[in-house]
């Protein structure tokens, strides 16, 4: 996905260009919806999250600039924050069954824009596979569920003071796997 295009689209969006918003919708809604769905586990809720993200974007809450990295990463960060806020509001958190990563059948991306998704997905999945179960669980609780430090400690049965160190280790291990071949840090 061309970063330059995204920056231009974003600039047009800031000028309240509805067509630009629609293009952003077409380009990213499926990715945002799928990511939100992974966090909130319901189609209605995921739609609500995407809507909230786009309203924030339209109203200019939170300002993007290229020095913050890729537009898509920024948008996904907002989606994550919105989705875990949604979960907190629903207070569904604690009752929820821990969702472990499972292998799925290969899903074909529907549009050209989703090719990057597929490639990224394979890369990240590959890296996750190498992690220990506990590390995968910690990343899931920390990143996808947005648990608090205390909730993670309870869920994994760790002293609360060790949680941050475990997160760091799991992420370092993941990055090591992700960048082992490319060495592009």
């Amino acid at each position: 996905m061309d970063m330059h295009d995204d920056v231009q689209l974003y600039e047009r969006l800031r000028a309240k260009d509805q067509a630009a918003m629609e293009m952003i919708y077409d380009k990213y809604s499926r990715l945002l919806f799928s990511f939100a769905y992974k966090v909130v586990h319901s189609s209605d809720a995921a739609e609500e999250v995407v809507q909230e993200v786009l309203i924030k974007l339209w109203k200019g809450n939170g300002v993007y600039s290229p020095d913050k990295g890729k537009f898509s990463t920024w948008l996904l960060s907002i989606t994550r924050n919105t989705a875990i806020d949604y979960l907190r509001r629903q207070k569904k958190h604690t009752d929820e069954v821990i969702h472990q990563e499972v292998e799925h059948a290969d899903t074909q991306p529907g549009t050209e824009e989703l090719v990057e998704w597929k490639q990224q997905s394979e890369r990240v999945r590959e890296a996750m596979r190498v992690l220990k179960d506990e590390q995968r669980l910690i990343i899931d609780l920390f990143y996808f569920k947005g648990y608090s430090q205390k909730m993670i400690a309870e869920q994994v049965d760790l002293p609360i003071g060790t949680v941050k160190g475990r997160i760091r280790l799991a992420l370092n291990h993941l990055k090591q796997e992700l960048y082992e071949e490319r060495r592009d840090w």
Binding site: R14, Y143, G161, L171, H173
Partner: protein, 277 residues
């Protein structure tokens, strides 16, 4: 204490802090580069992890519903009439989301942190031994890391009252010309209670005469910045402490000690006697 404050990064990142706690933590982060860098790393996770999501098909009619609600969310119902002045206001407005991205600009630092130096070293090490040892080494490293992390956490807990200092950087200071100057020293940068301090210790230094004093310098690129003057005892031992976190965005490239004709110079006037590699 600093560590417990740093521990709040998880709850900050995941939005579990009250407004008051959040503000206190943001203040802490201004003085804590390691929290800022870790936050940037965590924010950069969104470049990778969301792609683990399975491709879901959005429900029928979602586009129309969502976009209608987006247009309706706008109090200025006609987008064309929105004046530039209003846009300016919007731009400068700090919504709650803005603060989530404080560190995102530092995303380039993703792999540059001390902890990643370790990662890099370990990676190189692993690459060398990969053929025979990859599996075993990784397992051992993992177990060692887990033990280390738990041990650090235990130390933190034990030391609740006193505060624990984290070493960010440690370097030896060696004589620049062993024929002319004796002496050696060490420079350590530590983070404690939300401050970042430089500690310089020297020993075996040559005697001072008259008003002479040693002066420590933090060198950023080519620019020396004074980190304080100090004298030595009869045995040639001396030390100085300097608060780096009071300065804006300093990058420490080298640390050096000069012998100055008088203390507290703005620029070095004397000769460099010790320097970090």
């Amino acid at each position: 204490m600093a560590h417990q404050e740093c521990d709040k990064l998880i709850d900050y990142f995941n939005g579990h802090l009250s407004e008051e706690e959040k503000q206190a933590f943001e203040q802490h982060m201004q003085a804590c580069p390691s929290c800022r860098e870790e936050l940037a790393e965590w924010e950069a996770l969104s470049a990778e992890l969301p792609f683990l999501s399975e491709a879901e098909e959005p429900p029928e009619g979602m586009k129309e519903r969502v976009l209608t609600n987006v247009w309706n969310s706008d109090d200025t119902s006609s987008p064309e009439t929105s004046a530039p002045a209003l846009d300016e206001k919007r731009r400068s407005r700090k919504g709650p989301l803005a603060t989530w991205f404080v560190g995102a600009a530092a995303a380039a630092l993703l792999f540059s942190l001390a902890g990643n130096g370790y990662l890099l070293m370990e990676n190189q090490q692993l690459a060398e031994d990969r053929e025979q040892l990859a599996g075993e080494a990784e397992q051992l490293a993992f177990e060692r890391d887990v033990i280390e992390a738990d041990y650090e956490a235990l130390l933190e807990q034990e030391d609740e009252e006193g505060g624990v200092a984290d070493v960010l950087l440690a370097s030896n200071l060696a004589s620049t010309d062993e024929e002319l100057f004796t002496g050696e020293g060490s420079a350590t940068i530590i983070a404690e209670d939300g401050h970042v301090d430089l500690l310089v210790q020297v020993s075996g230094m040559p005697e001072l005469e008259g008003e002479e004093a040693f002066q420590a310098w933090v060198i950023e690129g080519e620019t020396p910045i004074s980190a304080g003057s100090f004298t030595i005892d009869d045995d040639g031992n001396g030390a100085v402490r300097y608060r780096l976190s009071d300065m804006d965005d300093i990058q420490v490239d080298q640390i050096a000690i000069t012998l100055e004709p008088q203390p507290n110079n703005e620029q070095p006037q004397g000769q460099m006697v010790l320097a970090s590699p």
